[in-house]
């Protein structure tokens, strides 16, 4: 009987069964950052413990880094204290730290893959729920809390209960203007924000086969928004091509051995799944959220749901969402005025996102009154983008071009919404207060849709704004 990648990786990394029935699982790669690690190092010190495998931990700083103030000390002393704590902790423990002066710093989920640290068939943990991103490479990657960060530092293992596996097939071809972000928002809308509880999501089918690694990362990144603990795509030639030659990828004679091993982790053709969901690519259109969780989403040409169309608690949550968002049930989402446009984050701050937006933004200009910011996900992304002249395209269009960081995704830095501003955002969460103002409002969408909203000053169909069909067929 065939096995899934999840089961193969789990079995290879299982240390032993614990008395409570959980598995002690070996974590091959541990990624840390400044928000969720200082308390863990503090706990280690209190217990007189040290880091067991410092060479298997990699650190960067992302959440608190100001994106327009690149010189220290930062004006926020708390942010300065957090980066200094990480410097001290990594230095004392012998952990590699992609600090701000290395040219490699950035959002942890962008840095891991681009450095070749993220590899197929591995287990990865990080004190951030979007660790699911790394599943794009066929890794089993978990977001963890700080006590578990402590556990991984002290033992390179953690206690986990196994997950069921749901295979999500997206077959067919996506229409022009429909992106990976639309695919995952559609999946979450269909299955619910709690639909994935107890599951690992395995994404497959023609759409994922055709997706670039960046597109796979965008989808895996938001697995957690659907309640799944992790999400992954089976490794293939595209995965190997992406990893070849990266700083931490295996090289020389080790490369062929690694690829052979990586291939063996892919789910068997006759693997048994706990659940299978089939989605047709042709059914997916550009999707935007209207509420206060990522499952409250509609196609751009749909009207917002009427409260009476919703059942039970969905109705109560929708009523709360409409009040917070100041939106009207039954109205179209298109035409909703925006104040801020944000392109960046671990979901959509990669080079391919910026490339795609720049293609359409050339010659266009941000609407009056809209603040538009573009935040490359890492210093590497920023450098390549600047070499390609993308920064000029964004600047000439009226976007601010920033330094690498998490920026306005969760606003633990100076990039925040003010008052009840409404943001068109390429990030992953539209929770109340998420973008820094308790009354701020967030509409999630693909980066190209954010650009369309920036240019028109309202939630718009990028396919119309940018004359998509013609551009694509040209």
């Amino acid at each position: 009987m065939g096995k899934t990648l999840f089961h193969k990786v789990w079995e290879d990394h299982a240390v032993r069964k614990l008395p409570n029935g959980q598995t002690q699982l070996f974590i091959g790669t541990h990624l840390i950052h400044e928000v969720t690690s200082p308390q863990a190092f503090g706990m280690l010190r209190d217990l007189g413990l040290t880091v067991k495998y410092p060479s298997r931990t990699f650190a960067t700083v992302d959440h608190i880094v100001p994106t327009n103030e690149l010189v220290e000390p930062y004006s926020d002393p708390l942010a300065q204290a957090m980066i200094e704590a990480l410097r001290k902790n990594t230095k004392e423990s012998g952990i590699t730290f992609f600090d701000t002066n290395t040219g490699k710093q950035g959002v942890v989920h962008i840095v891991g893959p681009e450095q070749g640290i993220t590899q197929p068939g591995t287990t990865i943990a990080c004190g951030d729920s979007h660790t699911a991103t790394h599943g794009a490479f066929g890794a089993i990657a978990f977001g963890i809390g700080t006590s578990q960060v402590r556990d991984v530092l002290a033992t390179q293992t953690m206690a986990l209960s196994p997950l069921k596996v749901r295979r999500i097939n997206v077959d067919g071809k996506l229409a022009p203007g429909v992106y990976a972000k639309d695919v995952i928002l559609h999946i979450i809308r269909l299955l619910g924000v709690n639909g994935g509880i107890g599951f690992a999501y395995e994404y497959g089918g023609e759409v994922f086969d055709n997706f670039s690694m960046e597109e796979r990362m965008t989808v895996c990144n938001m697995s957690i928004e659907g309640g799944a603990r992790c999400g992954y795509v089976n490794p293939d030639q595209k995965t190997f091509d992406y990893l070849k030659g990266r700083p931490y990828s295996p090289n020389g004679a080790k490369w062929e051995d690694a690829v052979k091993k990586w291939k063996s982790y892919a789910s068997d053709k006759d693997a048994i799944y706990d659940d299978v969901v089939n989605i047709k690519a042709e059914d997916i259109k550009p999707t935007v959220t209207w509420g206060i969780n990522p499952g409250q989403a509609v196609f751009i040409d749909e009207n917002l749901p009427l409260l009476e169309e919703l059942e039970g608690s969905d109705r109560a949550t929708a009523a709360e969402a409409y009040e917070h968002m100041s939106l009207t049930p039954g109205a179209p989402i298109r035409g909703t005025k925006i104040d801020v446009a944000f392109i960046g984050s671990c979901t959509n701050g990669r080079l391919s996102d910026l490339d795609e937006v720049a293609k359409y933004l050339k010659g266009k200009h941000v609407a009056p009154g809209v603040t538009a910011i573009c935040v490359p996900g890492s210093q590497v992304v920023a450098k390549i983008a600047e070499e390609k002249g993308l920064d000029k395209v964004f600047r000439e269009a009226g976007f601010e071009w920033r330094g690498a960081g998490c920026s306005m995704c969760l606003a633990m830095n100076p990039d925040k919404l003010k008052g009840n501003q409404l943001s068109a955002s390429s990030s992953n969460r539209n929770f109340k207060g998420r973008q820094g103002s308790p009354t701020g409002r967030t509409i999630l969408m693909s980066p190209v849709m954010v650009a369309a909203a920036a240019v028109t000053g309202e939630v718009s169909d990028a396919r119309e704004v940018f004359g998509f069909a013609e551009t694509v067929s040209a």
């Binding site: 409570n20 924000v193 633990m412």
Partner: protein
């Protein structure tokens, strides 16, 4: 490591926190996470739910005198969704919460809470409704969550609760923080590391 307390029962007054899909940003807004310890997070629990932009108290059960000092929260479904930040359960714990009774929980939040010795037990919709009514009409009377009998005692009746077996066993055995267990077979960890091709 010193032995942990066995958690067999949690007794205390309760406060209902309404809503489904209450996310971790709601439990503790990100702007309060700029810290290198968890000390002091209690005052920021549900900050934007409890206070308006001017810092004035908003109408919410958590601000009502009759629920002051409650140590058990009654919550809806998918509680704690969103971030993996342990700051969320830490802020509740430091706020004084010792257990949650709800419909369901996001997995990372559930695990983080268990590691703090703060059980998150589940009930069905009718039971939650009944418990909420009991607590609303008699907020001064304590409830007891009994993890041995797997019931919650309230208003003279007992109602069944659910809790993942691994969490239940950990709490009952005083092994809810797994670190001591994880540390005690280093040779087994090393043998897995040795056989993995990439470590």
């Amino acid at each position: 490591m010193s032995a942990l307390e066995k958690i067999t029962k949690v007794t205390g007054r309760a406060v209902p926190v309404p809503g489904d899909d209450v996310d971790t940003d709601r439990i503790i807004p990100a702007r309060f996470m700029k810290c290198v310890t968890f000390d002091g997070l209690g005052e920021f629990a549900f900050y934007d739910v409890r206070y308006d932009a001017e810092g004035k108290k908003k109408k919410h059960p958590l601000n009502e005198d009759r629920f002051k000092g409650a140590t058990i929260m009654l919550v809806g479904s998918n509680f704690g969704c969103g971030s993996s930040r342990e700051h969320a359960p830490q802020s509740l714990h430091k706020f004084g919460v010792r257990a949650l009774i709800g419909l369901s929980y996001a997995e990372i939040f559930f695990g983080n809470s268990t590691t703090l010795g703060m059980p998150c037990v589940s009930v069905d919709v009718e039971t939650l409704h009944t418990l909420t009514q009991i607590v609303e009409s008699h907020p001064e009377k304590p409830l007891t969550i009994d993890l041995e009998k797997m019931v919650v005692a309230a208003g003279g009746n007992e109602y069944p609760i659910k809790l993942a077996e691994s969490a239940r066993e950990g709490l009952l055995a005083g092994e809810w923080d797994p670190l001591a267990l994880l540390l005690n077979k280093p040779e087994e960890i090393e043998s897995v590391a040795d056989r993995l091709h990439y470590v």
